[in-house]
């Protein structure tokens, strides 16, 4: 990636919920934006950490050890192997940083699961 990106503007331009789009890369990680509302699904990524940064709104990340509440501008890294479920009561815009090998919903597949090809579609 050699262009200037506004993650907030990219996320705002999304029209589909829970459908991350790749806006760049840094080394072996993708930068993604997502627009979410409701609940995704409990899953984990066995080999990859996952960074959530809230661009707009509020995100709750349910973990087996408790709940993390993220306001706008705050970030949290879900460690590899930790089961989690992101939940947003209201529309929430996210910047995600994930290794390129990361599967959207880990080993779980639901109707919300997006493939890498889908995440690579232009905004």
């Amino acid at each position: 990636m050699t262009k200037v990106v506004s993650p907030a503007q990219s996320a705002a331009a999304l029209t589909e919920l829970w459908s991350p789009r790749i806006i760049g890369e840094v080394d072996d990680a993708y930068l993604k934006v997502a627009k979410v509302q409701g609940s995704l699904v409990w899953h984990s990524h066995e080999a990859e950490d996952e960074l959530f940064l809230v661009l707009k709104g509020h995100l709750r990340i349910e973990l087996e050890a408790g709940v993390v509440e993220l306001d706008e501008g705050e970030l949290f890294v879900v460690p590899k192997g930790v089961r989690h479920n992101p939940v947003a009561e209201q529309e929430c815009h996210l910047l995600l940083i994930e290794r390129k090998s990361t599967l959207h919903t880990g080993g779980v597949v639901t109707e919300k699961t997006r493939t890498l090809a889908e995440q690579l579609r232009p905004l």
Copy 2:
């Protein structure tokens, strides 16, 4: 890292210019915040990309191929091997994402260069 972090608040708390502090990690990368004003130094990272996200203010990244101007909320990834020099006319707060192996000013050492130990000091 298993705690909620506000990069903007962390950066605002810094008291020293051009002295990045590590606020977390995701896989083999560190998350850092920095408060900058003035010019750092021309350098490159031969094996690592470097992500700059402006939390506050405006950053200019001088590259041999041209100049990148970043407003608040915008990000840019300097590709590995590309010589660059960050410059801020006014105080600017940054979130940086860099591989753990990344040296602050690459193969160049100046009085502004900070070691990993210095970047690991608590805020």
